[in-house]
Structures are given as C-alpha cells and as structure tokens.
Amino acid sequence: MQSLVGVLFDGFAYGMLLFLLSVGLSVTLGMMNFVNLAHCSFAMVGGYATVSFMNRLGWPFFAALAAAFVVAAAVAVVLERTLYRRLYRASDLDQCLFTIGIVFISVAAFAFFYTTELQSARVPEYLRGAVQIMGINFAAYRIFLVAVSLAMAVLLIFLLERTQFGATVRAAVDNQRMARGLGIDVDRAFMITFALGGGLAGLGGGLAVEFVGLEPTFALTYLVYVLIVVAVGGLGSIGGSFVAAAVLGISDMAGKYFFPWLGAFLIYLVMVALLMWRPAGLFGKR
C-alpha cells in the first residue's frame, strides 16, 4: 500500500509542474481570449535563465528560480507590449499562427545560444534523493516542487480573490467592455496578468530542468500537455487548472502503476472523457 501512496505523490508532483506551466495560459486565454500557444516558450525562458544564473553566474538554486520568474515575466511584458497587443482583435486562427511562429523562433534561438544539449542545474544536496516519511519513499525534489506550486496557487488565489487588483482582473475577465466602461485600466490589468502568467511559466520552466530535463524543443513537447490541462480545467479558472493538473498527473501515474500496457493511452482517454463530460472544463465559466 505504501508504494501506492509514493507513486500517487509522484503523479501529484508531476501534476503540480503542469499546473505552474499552464495556469498562466488558462488565465490569459480565459481573460483576454487570446490563444497564446507560445506560453511554454516563456517556461523555456525561465528554464534557461535558471541554468545561466546557476552555471554561469554561480547563483544558488532558489535565487536562480526567483530570477527565472522575473526574467520570464519581463519577456512576457515586452512581447505583450510590442507584438501581442496588436493582435487582440485578430481572429483566433491568426493568433495561433502568430504564436506558433514565436515558438519556432524561440526553439531556434535557444538551440543557437545554448546548443541542443540537455541542460542541467546542480540542485542543492538536500533536494536530491529520497526522504522517508512513515516508511514511504518521497523524492525530496518533488516535495519541494509541490510546496512551491501550492504556495503559488494560494498566492494567486489570494491575489485575485482578495485584492483590489484581483477585482479589476476578474471584472476584465467577465466583461471587458463593461470594465472599460467603469474606467478600469483594462490594458494595465492585461499586462500585469500576462506578466504574472509568464513569470509562473518561467518558474515552472526553472523547476522542470531537474525534473523532466530542458532542451530547445521543450516548448513544443509541453504545449500539448499544457493545452490539455487548460481545456480540462476550464478557461480562466485557477482552481480548474489546479484540479485538472492534479487529476491528470495522478490518474496518469496510477494508470501506469495498475495497468502499464495502457500507459500512453490513459492521459488522453482521461482528457477525452472529462471534456465530453464537462465541455467547458471542470470549473469553466464559458
């Protein structure tokens, strides 16, 4: 029995990584109805920033992660202010084409500057190996990842539910025209939310280096998983992304443990089933 708990925890940790990578996209897609397929490129920015800060500048792991958040958020804002803003009224097909173009550019750029080699970031010693809790083996790094993700989720929900800024964002989500009518600076809300989403993705990218490995095609490989979490969770819903990421992570891991021959099918079967049951997503509004 203990081994099962250990495995399900690993699935939950994997889900938490997906949560960090996808929550930003769920909010920007839900709020601004902007199809940003390049969201995982921000995760790569964060990942490579972490690697550079640690390996080239010798920063400790946590400082590098914080830097990853800031750098990714900055890149997100720059892109939003310069290019994305001109496409808010474009058709969603054009938004797809534009953001896939950004993904292609980012893949080539990171391959050029960081070569195609698998990156590694020396995690502090105490985050390596396993920790014994009640006789069950838990990976130290995964505990850390879960902790960071939970903290981010709580912070995000507090920020949106309890603060004035959160109110303006939620207003802009529900009805952009109305929010503008009430004098809410919707553009500023977009920019900050975009930065927040990008930053979280960057943090996710930084944590992913040691978890699933980082190389230039990361943005393409994880685009599929992030879209699944966003669709299943429901647009614009942080809780939705959280639950969807957890459910997908755990069911994927449990499936592999109980019926391994079903391995790769399971996550897609779970997705299709959930989407057919709740087309607007678990907590989707639209």
């Binding site: 699935g11 391959a111 396993a130 990976a139 699933v212 490995g213 443990y257 790769a264």
Partner: protein, 393 residues
Amino acid sequence: MLRKLAVVTTAAAALLAAASVHAQTVKIGIILPYTGQFADGATQLDNAIKLYVKQNGETVAGRKLEFVRKDTGGIAPDVAKRLAQELVVRDQVDILAGFLLTPNALAAGDVSAEAKKFMVVMNAATSIITTKSDYMARTSLTTPQVNESLGAWAATKGGIKKVYTMVSDYGPGHDGEQGFINGFKGAGGEVIGSVRFPVANPDFAAFVQRAKDLNPEAIYIWVPGGAQPAAIGKALAERGIDARKTKVLSQLELTDESARKAMGDAALGIITGAHYDPEHKSARNQAFVKAYVAEYKRSPNFFSMGGYDGMHLIYEALKKTGGKTDGAALIGAAKGMAWESPRGPISIDPETRDIIQTVYIQRVEKVGGENVNVEVDKVEKVKDPVKVRMMKK
C-alpha cells in the same frame, strides 16, 4: 510535347552527372535530424564528421571533398527518401551518409540500392537496415549486437539467474529487450516479468515502483538517449532501488555523461553493455576525446564515434579505389576493411557489410571522486547475431 521536353531535360541532367565524375570534387550528402527531438544526437555526430575532416584534410586520393547537409527534422522516412533522391538527382552526390534514425535509414536505403550509391549508416541500429541495399555499410552498432552480448554475460560471468525487464514501448526498445533476452535465456537465465512504458512520457516513478515491489534479483532497462536516462536514474534512486544490491543492466545510453551527472551516486553499480565509452582507456581514444573537447567544449558520445568511424571508412575506401566513386567500387573496398578505432579494433563484415566490434561490459564506479563507467569485461569480434542467424537458415 510535354513528355518529350521532360525526357530531354533529364537526359541533360544525366550528362551533367557523368561529367562531374572527372571533376575534382567528391560530393558527400549527409542526412541527419538536425532539428527536433533528436537534434542533440545529430549535433554530436556531425561534430565528429567535421573533426575527422579537420584532422585528415579535405582532399582524399587527389579529390576534394564537398559536403551537402540535409535536415529530416526527426523521424520522417518520406522526407528522408525525398532528400536522398534530391541529393542523388539534383546535387549529384557520390556518397550518402549520416542516418541517426532507423526509419530514415530504411527509406534512404531504397535510394542507395536504386541509384547504386555508396551509403554509410553512422548510427541507426536496427539489424535489417543493411539488407536494404548492397551498397550500404554501417559503422555504429546493431541493438542485438550489444544487448545479446550483455545478456549472455549477465547469465554467465554476471552470475544473474532471474531478470525483470523494463523497456521503452517502441521499435528500438523491443529490439534491445529481445536481444538481451536471447542472450540471457541462451545462457540459462530466466525472465520473471516485464513492463513497457510509453516513449513520450518522461516520468518513470510508477514503473520503477512496480519493479521494486517484485524485488527482483536484476532489472534490465532500455531507454532512448536524451532526457530519459537521467529521469529513470532519479526514479530508481527515489524509489529506493540501489544498483549495488539489485543489479541494474542496460544499454550504454543509461549511463552516458549527462545521465550520470544528473543521477549522482544513484548511478553507482549500474552495469551497461557498450560498444564505446568516452573514458575507454586507449591512446587513440584519449587523443580523439581531447581533440573533440578542445573543438566543441563537451565530450563525445557513441553518436560521435559512429560519425568519426564512418568518415574513416569513407576516406579509406576512396583511397583504396584511387578516387573512383561508383557504388560497387566503394562498397567493394569497404568490405572486410579493418582498423583500430578509438573504441577499439573494428571491421566491416564482408557478407553483411555491418560492423564487427568489441562489446565492453562496464559498471559505474567512483574513481577519483567522479562516477565513471569502468570496463569489467569485454566480448571481442562480435557480429550482429540476428543476421548471423539469418545466414545460417
């Protein structure tokens, strides 16, 4: 009218091709997945090609070499076949080389056969590849060659009775498992269970836990290179499998440099069957590694070795034919050729045109504070067992 016009232009193209034979340059077309999921393997292989040319000069048997590089973007046999056709028809290449991935090598093999072009496979490891064209030679490995040797060694000198296998659920993974099992059972071993995990998913905790629950004497693992060796290595550590107690066996990818760096001490004790390791103790290898690191700031791996030896084969074949580049001459020269490669003594089997080489059995041990693959045993002059059996039938 159109039909006639088309024929005329093709005749013209053919004439051009004939003329170029006497021209000075030998054109070599290199097909590799420079982009996509396998880009790093292509980079490591292409680096070795460039290094060999830098070391040995661009002129062979009085003729200058010219390279045309084409990207398949990953597993894309339709693209690989078209690129091979274009290299033959449009660029008039004399030699086709590269081929990191099996589906692409199989597709280009048809073009080598039809156009009678000498083709050197520098990595793709499925056995049947060299049967696709009589003008094709391979300088990397075949999956059964390494895994059967490892399996036979495990059941004999390795002293292992029962093994549990865990492999990636796709072609190369199945070949590796089959190879190991042939060798292991052939030498009296017993397989107590097996599981296959999806190619795409990088998280192995559940599978490793299943293996741990059975608490087997030994586990055989096959994973593709790249991010997965590190991931499964960490999963082994996290799930509490110590490779020094439960014997862990695999093909060389599992303990390549980046995987060992990521795993740390969890890698200690892992046994792998390998045809090449950058730490191989030979003067020729140390010179090769030093030159490679100086040039590219990272150490070579078995992809590089396949490329380096592939170029050596091309150079020597051209020397032997005095610069003649027709397929029959070059493959004739290549057959039976033997030389001392940085990995050790290798030769090209005259019947199957595949590589004959030494398979090293190595275990990860701490040497001078560093976890490295230490050679514990070796099996010499190993031919590809699958084609050997096919010959006997």
